[in-house]
Homo-oligomer: 412 residues x 2
């Protein structure tokens, strides 16, 4: 997470060096190896000393995996969670009746081990599609969640990973009602391999006291501007899920939309989600760099979102950036097929500080300078449409030989 410190934080929001889901008061986490995967940690959990207000967003994929159904059922009861358990290696997706039964059993055993009701317990899985959960291994793992050597936040961060090349954890702090509030989060990336290591997962914690309805609304809105604005290969997995838990340990007055510092809290939560989203994009399969698209001057935020996603999803843009090629024609083409109405003669495009298109026609630029810019490990594409006040950002990564190798050759 070394990139975190380079990011401009919003006023009053402090990044916590080395922060994660246990930076907020009252949260603990751990991880262990239960044998689903050969050597890597494969079972992780997160626990709050007290029941926390909870909210979730879930994949829109029709083949929603069993653990998501069980987790939604838990949260539906009282909008609360106290603990969650995650396995990697097997996704428990496309597993029919047995899969649902296994997810319930995983929830039941873990709830029992933690001494909490099942409805305060969430489950998540990520890994192979179509394989049954190895329940004996998971049961064996659950028996060891209280072993002291497993209780370490970094072990939780590791246990949820699949093809990710690194852990993704972050935390920020803000002052609300004169109290120090922490918000932390972890994530795993969204590549899908071996053969279907699916899933973007993120778990967010805060010790703020937050009204459950307000928390649900905020998470949904923020997810749309962060996790839903990243793409690695455009494939939405069966297991994607973001959960947030707010345990109130900071003892602020309950945050609602009417609280005078509500916006500060939302901004802090946004920073956490945006940082994690960027880390996922940067760590996309085969990625050598982060691509950020900034669209401004669209006729609405929704139009700006559609256009920024069109650009970030283009294989031709992704390969051009991989080759450090200032190929603006591909950017303009992607804008043009986004399905949004706009005036081609008002479009300006720049690559970082280098203007390449003005008023819809090419603008002479220094090829060498452009190449130098595109060789950096973060590339920002700016599109200004001159058509209104709508804006959006999207994040992705370049498309490399390595992407094809990872995804074409797994069984061979």
């Amino acid at each position: 997470m070394e990139q975190v410190n380079q990011v401009t934080t919003k006023e009053k929001i402090d990044l916590v060096t080395g922060g994660s889901v246990t930076t907020p008061k009252g949260f603990s986490a751990g991880g262990l190896h239960c044998g689903i995967r050969k050597q890597k940690l494969d079972l992780g959990w997160l626990y709050s000393d007290v029941p926390a207000q909870a909210a979730g967003v879930y994949t829109t994929n029709v083949f929603q995996a069993a653990p998501l159904k069980v987790t939604q059922e838990s949260i539906a009861k009282e909008n609360k969670l106290q603990a969650l358990i995650v396995n990697s290696g097997v996704a428990n997706a496309c597993t029919g009746e047995q899969g649902l039964k296994d997810a319930y059993e995983m929830r039941e055993s873990f709830a029992k081990a933690m001494g909490i009701p099942e409805y305060l317990t969430a489950v998540a899985s990520t890994g192979l599609i179509g394989e049954p959960l190895p329940m004996a291994k998971i049961q064996n793992g659950i028996e060891r969640v209280h072993d002291q050597e497993n209780k370490e936040t970094s072990r939780f961060e590791t246990a949820i990973l699949t093809t990710d090349t690194r852990e993704k954890g972050v935390a920020v702090q803000v002052e609300i009602d004169g109290k120090l509030i922490s918000i932390g989060g972890v994530a795993k990336g969204s590549g899908m391999i071996h053969p279907n290591m699916a899933t973007m997962l993120s778990f967010i914690t805060t010790d703020a006291e937050v009204d459950d309805q307000a928390l649900t609304a905020a998470l949904k809105e923020i997810t749309n501007k962060s996790f839903n604005m990243i793409t690695v290969d455009g494939d939405t997995s069966t297991n994607d899920m973001v959960l947030v838990m707010a345990n109130g340990k900071a003892q602020n007055k309950a945050l609602t939309e009417n609280h005078p510092e509500w916006l500060l809290f939302v901004n802090a939560l946004s920073v956490v989600c945006e940082l994690l989203a960027k880390e996922i994009a940067r760590d996309g399969e085969g990625a050598s760099k982060l691509i950020e698209v900034q669209v401004r001057g669209a006729n609405s935020d929704e139009a700006a979102q559609a256009i920024s996603k069109s650009i970030i999803s283009s294989n031709l843009v992704k390969t051009a950036i991989h080759g450090a090629d200032a190929n603006w024609g591909r950017v303009i083409t992607a804008i043009g097929y986004s399905g949004q109405q706009l005036d081609p003669n008002k479009v300006n495009i720049s690559l970082g500080p280098i203007a390449v298109v003005k008023q819809g026609v090419p603008f002479a630029f220094d090829e060498e300078k452009a190449k130098t810019y595109l060789l950096q490990d973060t590339v920002v594409i700016h599109a200004e449409l001159g058509d209104g006040e709508g804006s959006a950002a999207a994040w992705g990564c370049d498309l490399s030989y390595e992407y094809v190798r990872i995804n074409a050759s797994y069984r061979t």
Copy 2:
């Protein structure tokens, strides 16, 4: 075009070996090198002895290139065309006022050379975005369209290509009103490189007499089921265009929707468009094979189209097929995020003859047999949704290292 003979033709529709746009009576074509490209032919034309009923479909990209505007203006006058001229190398897209002026001038000069009115003349361009048309070279080329050595259909087929690896021409014949009717077509592929060799172009000819309104409606419908169902990289270019010309030389009774053999004509036109669409997909940048997706049992044809496009556009499916990996989880995932409602428990999937998913859960199959099948040069993915009568087909190609190489390294 050796694949043509392997395709099952519909009853009464005969493929013409070596057929092309000049198989129908009264059409001639040619091509030459005017110097836009280093060595390849770069200027081609097609001519009908008499004015022909004409119809066109055009890119939906907002940055529609100048020649498409001029061609639409020509056809708008009387729904007729007698000739068209195409250059490769420069797309005349994102070229502002000058681009429009150049496209008009290209039309004017070519019309004059052929001795026909401008409104019976179409223009098309494909190649670099953002470069002005080199008008002196084009004028010089137009002066040589009557030179005998340039009058050859295969020279037309070659002159319209950019990164294509081979010419794409096809023709079929049917009997209507006791008259032999021919329909021919050529196409160029849809990869976008160097830096923006855009564009899917196709030109269809027939000597049938066809009502202009019926022709327009048929072309639109057929395009939606053929050219619009292929994807190489999902990028819709600024210059895509399909034109059809029907010159009536076969002397059948004018074909309208009420003609007893209308459906036979539509089927024959469909065969031409589908064969060309498949050839474009097979010749996608870096492609080593054609992928065909067949969706059946959807709740509507539209749903089936959306699902088949979702599968064929998935980078993960495309890389799996490239690696001959029977990775059905990626197919089911792409079905799931297509945005269509369906019952996951009714879905069957097979790869060619090999069933891999039944009723939404994995079905045991022989990995070796699957691999052998996936190594063939055409791979068919069948998805049966058990949800209705809707069906659709889509075509694409695998995603290879070569795709990344072509698109990442052009300027380096």
